[in-house]
């Protein structure tokens, strides 16, 4: 369980010593790589979960480049987010096969169940709904991606089953 206070400090990882250590490590390991900025940002996104303004400033300062450059790169790529997502993310594939195969209906269903739109997070910070590009599992359309797990052939009336483990905050089994 994430408590309210935890999630507040979580929005500034630079203030948490173990997170700051991870950030420093990521920067140190990659700053000398050609094109290292992209690698650093990708690592920050995956290990910390987002790249906030203060984190962007910190990276710029460490790499001795203008923060506008870091900001320009962060804002260009849709994978980089500047604020934390929910504990779990549910992504709806908006690729052609899934779109034709029923993603719009699934989104309606999710709205009904969670009361939030795609792009939003439930008030308890538990689940974020997102749209995503084709994840390359088109033969199983329509596809939702729950955390890292791809679930195929989801019909609207099966969707509650997909959400249930998240709502109960049980760990979703990661498929490899």
């Amino acid at each position: 369980m994430v408590t309210a206070t935890e999630s507040v400090t979580a929005s500034n990882p630079l203030a948490i010593s173990e997170k700051k250590q991870i950030i420093d490590q990521i920067i140190e390991q990659n700053e000398h790589l050609p094109g290292g900025l992209m690698v650093i940002l990708n690592e920050l996104q995956s290990q910390i979960g987002f790249i906030s303004e203060p984190m962007q400033q910190y990276v710029a300062q460490k790499l001795r480049i203008p923060v506008s450059i870091v900001h320009g790169v962060v804002s260009f790529y849709s994978f980089f987010t500047t604020s934390p997502r929910g504990k779990h993310t549910v992504k709806f594939c908006m690729g052609t096969a899934c779109y034709v195969g029923g993603t719009p209906q699934l989104i309606e269903k999710a709205k009904q169940l969670l009361g939030i739109e795609a792009g939003q997070t439930t008030p308890d910070g538990n689940i974020t709904l997102e749209l995503c590009r084709c994840v390359g599992a088109c033969s199983q359309a329509p596809v939702v991606v729950v955390d890292e797990e791809i679930i195929g052939r989801v019909r609207p009336n099966k969707f509650p089953q997909v959400l249930r483990p998240l709502q109960e905050d049980g760990k979703v089994e990661k498929s490899s």
Binding site: P34, G35, Y77, M94, G95, T96, E108, Q112, G136, P165
Partner: protein
């Protein structure tokens, strides 16, 4: 003691409980009471039946011994009526053997020839020895010990291999250009950005046979004289990244990457770099900017990458599939490869077949096969025996090809001649229930969103097209819209810098050309012939067919459906948002669209 004619065992494994097994049991009980079967069918709780992750909630029904899986409360009325009342096994709820590998690839289908995909699903991708046992790295050994770089290039040239990333430029020629650059520092890049929705050929090769790509890249590096290579993989493919990294590490351990490869004096190393969700980064100059750690915006060419590429150095960039066939060509010879295909296009191509076709998944076919053969022989025909309407090739910069061109032999030239492109190999088959205006709008939404914004026509023009298409789909189309669209299409493709802008109008232009009547029906008759566009349709429940099972009412997101249990239900058109969920969940086909 009661005598039961049927016994139902429902799994109450914790995994199934988490997925709602108790609710299913309650619903089952209620329904049996409602249908007067409670004295004939016994419901028992049992431990795990199948893997709950894959099958839960599931149940076994005896005496038939049928395994029903992935059940939800909504499936129960239909299941009870069919199985216990009418005595018919409900095939669609039965547990299926699900293996992702089979679903995607499976055994070769009629008319397939597998060269790129030959190892996929057959070898362990995380074990280099498996690849070597299948003849892997023989080509590299041959190239390094018996061939000069020029001979390698000549072989690739004679094979007729063309770039599989979309444009179809002769690979050998590209290598020659990079070879001829005199700069001592050169790079080689593998484009694994595969951003076209509906395309997953590259992902499968990277995940299942990473060494074929690695070997192809080493050979290419030897041919052009590069020391360092990068594989740029999209962020949506985490497993591919992981598999590649393991493969690269093992190749280093075997002396196939690094200093002095196989004692030849040639040195080369590889690194994986990840994208971050920008479609335009599939374009080669944008991709290089991204590897350099910058915003992925395309730049004008020339200078071409072969002259001035990554970090300003001569660079060769090819697609995953292009590299993956190279070892085969080196081992089996240029003539072998060139013997397959057509006059213009040699060899085979992988496609991801998706949409309304019976067998979706990956296929590999020789060029020259017709679209009809792909849809009906390889793909098994249209699902539910509906009517074919169009096949979309080439992704968001491709076009929709109508029935009259089904006998077209597939190659780079022929697809372009009917207003589409080969692209990277996505193929989406659409049946009569697909609205072509809606499809055009869908693709425009994609390109509009993915335009990097550098060129005004691409940025503003795609937005204008999208606005008009959205209006048409909402029943607010106007006289003159079609002409404006055509004008915009011409303008955007002729004035944009990169392939994204140049190709963005294709889905609109091709549907305008072949399915103009659908646009006209939307604009002038306010009618969507395929019954898709929400503003132009209504849903209705058919009295007499509806059994009053209440499933639709419970699933409707806006509670537009009312009705007593066992009575015909009714949809209130003023509340209904036309999401179509009721139609998807009704097991009795009692809902129709007007």
């Amino acid at each position: 003691m009661a005598f039961y004619r049927s016994h139902v065992l429902v799994s109450v494994d914790p995994g199934c409980l988490a997925k709602g097994a108790l609710e299913v049991i309650d619903a089952l009980h209620d329904e049996l009471v409602a249908q007067g079967l409670v004295d004939e069918v016994q419901v028992l709780e049992t431990s795990r039946i199948g893997d709950p992750v894959q099958y839960g909630p599931d149940m076994m029904v005896y005496p038939e011994g049928v395994h029903y899986a992935n059940l939800s409360v909504d499936d129960i009325p239909y299941l009870v009526e069919e199985h216990f009342l009418k005595g018919r096994i409900v095939e669609k709820f039965r547990a299926k053997e699900i293996t992702v590998a089979d679903e995607e690839l499976g055994a070769p289908k009629p008319k397939e020839v597998r060269i790129v995909l030959r190892n996929c699903g057959k070898i362990d991708p995380n074990n280099i020895e498996d690849y070597i046992a299948e003849g892997g790295y023989m080509a590299l050994a041959k190239a390094l010990s018996e061939m000069t770089p020029e001979e390698v290039i000549d072989t690739v040239l004679r094979s007729g291999l063309a770039g599989r990333g979309g444009a179809g430029f002769p690979t050998g020629k590209k290598w020659q250009f990079a070879r001829n650059s005199s700069d001592p520092v050169k790079y080689i890049i593998c484009n694994a950005d595969e951003g076209d929705p509906g395309a997953f050929m590259n992902r499968r090769v990277l995940e299942s046979d990473p060494h074929s790509v690695i070997e192809g890249m080493i050979i290419a590096a030897y041919a052009i004289g590069a020391q360092q290579g990068y594989i740029y993989c999209r962020a949506e493919y985490p497993l591919a990244v992981k598999t590649l990294n393991i493969g690269i590490q093992q190749a280093r351990e075997f002396g196939l990457l690094g200093e002095n490869i196989l004692g030849s004096g040639f040195s080369f190393d590889l690194e994986v770099r990840q994208g971050a969700g920008a479609f335009v980064c599939g374009e080669e100059t944008a991709l290089m900017a991204s590897i350099e750690g910058r915003r992925g915006e395309p730049r004008p060419r020339p200078p071409f990458p072969a002259v001035k590429g990554l970090f300003g150095k001569p660079t060769n960039i090819n697609n995953v599939e292009t590299y993956a066939v190279v070892p085969q060509i080196i081992v089996n010879g240029a003539e072998w490869y060139a013997s397959m295909g057509t006059e213009n296009s040699k060899g085979t191509k992988t496609f991801a077949l998706a949409g309304d076709v019976k067998h979706t998944g990956l296929i590999e076919v020789p060029f020259g096969i017709t679209l009809r053969e792909i849809v009906y022989d390889v793909g098994g025909g249209i699902k539910d025996d509906k009517k074919f309407k169009a096949i979309q090739t080439g992704g968001p910069m491709g076009g929709c090809i109508p029935e009259q061109y089904l006998d077209l032999p597939v190659d780079y030239k022929s697809l372009a001649s009917v207003g589409s492109i080969m692209g990277s190999g996505g193929m989406i088959v659409m049946d009569e229930e697909t609205c072509m205006v809606d499809i055009a709008r869908f693709f425009m939404e994609f390109t509009q969103d993915e335009s990097c914004g550098k060129c005004v026509p691409c940025r503003v023009g795609t937005r204008r097209i999208l606005e008009i298409l959205t209006r048409i789909c909402e029943g607010k189309g106007r006289d003159g819209d079609i002409e404006t669209l055509e004008e915009l299409c011409r303008e955007i493709s002729s004035t944009s810098l990169c392939g994204l802008g140049q190709g963005a109008p294709n889905p609109v232009a091709s549907t305008l050309k072949y399915f103009r009547h659908e646009y006209e029906a939307h604009i002038y008759e306010k009618r969507c012939p395929a019954k898709v566009c929400r503003a132009l349709i209504t849903y209705e429940i058919i009295a007499g067919v509806c059994t009053g099972c209440t499933v639709c009412a419970r699933n409707c997101p806006v509670n537009a459906i009312s009705g007593e249990r066992r009575q015909t239900h009714h949809i209130d058109p003023d509340i209904c948002i036309r999401c179509g969920i009721c139609m998807q969940v009704c097991n009795f086909n009692a809902i129709r669209i007007n």
